[in-house]
């Protein structure tokens, strides 16, 4: 299977602090990969580098074969590579439906169509996706009035609305009621299987990521520590050390 995302020897430092050092990873198309590591290991920085939030110091990042390390966030998003945020970002002053409707793929937002109302097909798709994540009843609520967990689901639905080829999810289960996590896992598996969306997921919840991902990368101190199938990584002594702080 060809790789949809190739990150090659990417390094990024902020002032004197090295956040990522020569990190290499490949995500095959249609796969679900996990990115784990203790706090401060550079996972979110890597995400930020991939989506173009800051320029990288060295290395190359290719999405669908195309070099994206010099592109800006909006350009990369338009190529079909989206991310969700750790702190969950939605448009607080707008209703859930409006949040959804404004998240249609920008290729559909031609100059003239911007000045018209949303077509009924968009509204239907928005409602379907809100049903899918379980927010349909709250669709007219202002997004800022949702609970944190609900906002996370909205953010996820918005990302799906945009029709991405690949999603970078930053701790999608953090703050979610544990009884609802299984439901979220099912949703993730479903979008991967049915819509063919490749997923790269940062997670701290080991149960979740070991069940969800097909391949896992582990970062520590900004470097790639270990990689492999979940069963292998779970037992890797270096990974255990990194988490338990023996280093």
């Amino acid at each position: 299977m060809s790789a949809i995302l190739e990150v090659e020897r990417v390094s990024k430092a902020f002032g004197g602090l090295v956040a990522n050092k020569e990190v290499t990873l490949r995500v095959p198309e249609g796969a679900i990969c996990g990115l784990i590591g203790p706090n401060g290991s550079g996972k979110t920085t890597l995400f930020n580098s991939i989506v173009g939030q800051h320029p990288i110091d060295a290395g190359s990042i290719r999405f669908q074969g195309r070099e994206i390390s010099r592109l800006h966030v909006a350009q990369i998003a338009r190529l079909g590579l989206l991310r969700t945020f750790q702190q969950t970002r939605i448009y607080g002053g707008m209703t859930c439906m409006q949040n959804m409707v404004i998240s249609v793929p920008t290729s559909e937002l031609g100059w003239r169509s911007m000045f018209r109302k949303s077509p009924p097909s968009d509204l239907r798709k928005a409602e379907d996706l809100l049903h899918f994540v379980g927010l349909h009843a709250k669709r007219h609520l202002r997004a800022r009035d949702l609970s944190f967990g609900q906002q996370k689901l909205l953010e996820f639905a918005m990302a799906l609305m945009s029709g991405p080829r690949m999603l970078l999810l930053d701790e999608p289960t953090a703050g979610i009621n544990p009884t609802l996590i299984n439901g979220l896992l099912d949703q993730l598996r479903q979008v991967n299987a049915q819509l063919g969306i490749t997923l790269l997921v940062i997670e701290h919840n080991m149960r979740v990521i070991m069940n969800l991902a097909q391949y896992i990368y582990c970062l520590a101190h900004g470097e790639l520590l270990a990689e492999g199938k979940p069963e292998q990584v779970q037992k890797d002594p270096r990974v255990l050390d990194a988490y338990l702080g023996a280093r």
């Binding site: 173009g52 939030q53 800051h54 320029p55 800006h72 966030v73």
Partner: protein, 299 residues
Amino acid sequence: MENLRLLFDAPILSLQLLLDGVLIGAIFALAAYGMALVWGVVGLINVSQGELVMLGGYAAWFLYRAGLHPLFAVPLAAALLFVAGWLLYRAVIFRVVDKDLFTSILATFGLSILIQQLANTLFGADVRTAESGFGTLFLFGGAVTVSRIKLISFAAALLTGAFLMLFLKRSRMGQAIRATAQNARAARVMGVDTDRVYAWTFALNAAICGASGALVAMTWVVHPYLGLPYTVRSFMIVIIAGLGNVAGVLFAALGLGVAENFAGFILGAEYQAAFVFTLLVAILVWRRFWLARERRHLQ
């Protein structure tokens, strides 16, 4: 632009402009330092900064009219403005402290208009000067003139700044202020009365502005509308230097004073104000493009 040629023909003119610019720059630095203080500690951009300077100038002028030598008016104006600042905080400012930045900008802008119009109605629109009678120094055989009062103001401005820094470093309130600037919540947990700290900070800022204003009254003129350019200058200096960079504030301020002086000479006095405001926009836009290279945003 003939003036530009003059600069090349008579380089001694450049020296004059440089000197005047540096001397006035110290006063800019003082006002800028106060703005940085309030911004860093209270998290508020005080758009009425220039009006506080203006009030300080009028305070000095009235004291001068009452017979006091302008030099003594400086600490007195500072004291008067300290009280005014405290009252302003208690009346208005404390209500916008925890609101978003735009609200505080708009509120202090409203305040600046209020103060400005009050001054205009009460004091009249005429320009005033508090004569100090110190005479002029003649350097380089008379080619360069420096009014002694400008030299004294320069020293006074630096002294006031130094005194303030000492206060912030050594006194208990100064330490409380610095702690609040670093982390207001933690300071509160440690028992610091942040509301009092904010009041002190704002009042101190007003005092600094009062001192600057008094110096302006002596070296230049005061009138009700001198405020906004001072606010803009302070903002520019703080933007260039960054919060917490005292040396940077001083150098940026001196640089601005010099730049303004040269611009006023080359472009003509009627364009000096235009220069200040255009420079503000230019600096902000340039800085934004410079940050965009790092894909960071100008906040």
